[in-house]
Amino acid sequence: MSEAYGDSSEWDGQERLSVGQRLAEEALIVDVDGFEGPLDLLLTLSRSQKVDLRRISVLQLAEQYLTFVERAKALRIELAADYLVMAAWLAYLKSRLLLPPDPTEEGPSGEELAAHLAFQLERLQAMREAAARLMARDRKGQDFFVRGIPEEVTRTRRYRYDATLLDLMQAYARVRTRDEFRPYAFDRADVYGLDEALARLRAMLGDLPGWAPLSDFLPEGWRGQPARRRSATAATFAASLELAKAGQVELRQPDTFATIELRRKPSSES
C-alpha cells in the first residue's frame, strides 16, 4: 500500500492529492490498527522512498509521518498515544535537523538521532526478513519427519512388584481367618471395667469442688478412640449411678441428651 503514496513531495500540499492518492492515504490511516506501533508504520512509510534503508531520508520520513498524523486528526481517527509521542519526537527531530546546531545545547545532534532511527528501521526490517527466511525453511512435521514408531528407552533399573486380585483376597482371607482361629477370649483391650471406674471415681471425689461433667472423669487414653470412649463412658456412668445410690454423689442432667454432671453430695461430708 505504501506504493500508492507516490512521490512524497506531493505531501507538501495536501490539496494537490488526487482522489486515488487520498483514498490510498485514508486506507493507510484506517488500517492503523494493522500496524504494530509507530516503528512499524515508519517502516511502511519509508518504503515509499524506494531507496536502501541505509540511505533513507529521515527528514522526509519525519514529514511523512507528521502528515499522516495530521490527516488522521482531520479524519477524526483516534491514534494511540504512542503514535502521538512519536509524532512529537519526530517534530523535535525535524527541528534539530533543519536548524543550525546550537553549540551550547547538550545531547546528541539531529544527525545522530536520525542515524539511530534509520538503524532501528533497518534492524527491524532485517529481523522481518530473517523471520520470513526462518519460516520458509523445511520444517519438522511439515517437510521432514521423525520416526513414526519410536521405541522408548527407559534407563532405570527397577523391580516391578506384582500381585493379583487373588493374592489380595487370599491375603485378606488369611488375616481374617487368623482372627477366627484365635482361641476364644474376651478382648479386654478396649473395655473399661466397672470396678476400675468405681475406684477411679471414688478417688477423684475428694478433690471435686462442684458440678463437673461426667466426661471429665474419663481416664486418660480412653477419651479419643470411639470404642474406648464408649466403653469408658458407660463404665463411668454406671459407677456414678452406683455412687449416687450409695448417697455419695449427686447427678443432674438439665435436658434430654444434655451433658450429665455430677458432684459430691454435700451431706456426705458430715
Binding site: V153, A163, L168, M169, A171, D179, G224
Partner: protein
C-alpha cells in the same frame, strides 16, 4: 510442503546402479520415478509411519506407476544385517531395530517380584477398610506395620493418604488409588468380594466366622466422610 506432483528430480540422489539401468529415453509421460527413487520413498514412508504400511497403502501414497513391492525387495536387501531391519507385520511392512540390539533399547531390566506377605496383607486391609489408620491396620493384622511396607505401597502408587482422622493425634488415614483399581481390574473398592463370597470361593476355609460384614460398607467412599467419622469406628467391622 509441496503438493505438486513429485517429479523425479532426485535422480542424482538415487543410487547409480538403479537409476541408469532403465532406458530413460523410452519413458512415457508421467513415468514412474526410477526404482532407486521409489526405494527412497518407501524408506521414508516406513520410517515416518506410526503403523506398519501395506503394499497397497504404499502404492496409494506413491506417485502413479510405482512398484512398491519391488522397492521393498531392494530395501529389505539394503537393510539386511543393519541396525535396523525391514520386517513384515501381517500383510504390512515396518522398520524395526534389529532384535540382537534390543539390549540397547531396554536399558532397564524389569524384574517382577511378588509382594511380600506383609505388603499384600496391609494392602488388602487398606482396600477393605479404607480409610484406615496405621493403628487400625496393626490392630487387624496383629503386628506392627513397618514404614517400609507403607512406603513400598505408596511407591507402587497403590495407596495414598486420605484425610486425617479427627481423633487425638490426628492420625493419617490410607486409601487405595485409582492405579490400584486399574491394576486389579476393579471399578471401585466396593467391588471387592466380601468375606462371605471369599468363603464361598473357598478362600476362607474353616468354620464360619462371626463377621458377616460386607467390605466397603464402611468408608470405601473417598475423603468426605473420613474426617467426621470418628463415631463409626472402622473397628466396628470386627466387633460384631
Amino acid at each position: 510442503m509441496t503438493d505438486t506432483p513429485p517429479v523425479p528430480d532426485n535422480e542424482d540422489a538415487a543410487p547409480a546402479n538403479t537409476a541408469t539401468e532403465s532406458g530413460e529415453a523410452e519413458r512415457p509421460l508421467f513415468a514412474a520415478p526410477p526404482m532407486g527413487e521409489q526405494e527412497r520413498m518407501v524408506e521414508a514412508i516406513l520410517f515416518a509411519s506410526a503403523d506398519p504400511v501395506s503394499v497397497a497403502d504404499l502404492a496409494a501414497r506413491m506417485p502413479h506407476g510405482c512398484d512398491p513391492a519391488e522397492a521393498l525387495v531392494h530395501l529389505e536387501r539394503r537393510y539386511q544385517g543393519r541396525g535396523v531391519n525391514l520386517v513384515r507385520v501381517g500383510d504390512a511392512w515396518a522398520m524395526r531395530t534389529a532384535p540382537d540390539l534390543g539390549f540397547l533399547m531396554t536399558h532397564e531390566r524389569v524384574e517382577t517380584r511378588k509382594l511380600s506377605r506383609a505388603a499384600i496383607e496391609t494392602l488388602a486391609i487398606i482396600a477393605y477398610h479404607q480409610p484406615v489408620t496405621r493403628a487400625e491396620i496393626e490392630e487387624i493384622r496383629g503386628v506392627a506395620v513397618s514404614r517400609g511396607t507403607i512406603d513400598q505401597l505408596m511407591e507402587l502408587d497403590w495407596i495414598r493418604f486420605g484425610r486425617r482422622r479427627m481423633t487425638p493425634g490426628r492420625p493419617v488415614t490410607y486409601l487405595v488409588t485409582q492405579e490400584f483399581l486399574d491394576h486389579f481390574g476393579l471399578e471401585s473398592a466396593r467391588d471387592l468380594p466380601g468375606l462371605s463370597e471369599l468363603r464361598a470361593a473357598g478362600l476362607l476355609e474353616s468354620r464360619p466366622g462371626p463377621a458377616s460384614d460386607m467390605p466397603g460398607t464402611a468408608g470405601t467412599d473417598e475423603d468426605e466422610e473420613a474426617a467426621d467419622a470418628p463415631e463409626r469406628g472402622q473397628s466396628e467391622l470386627f466387633e460384631d
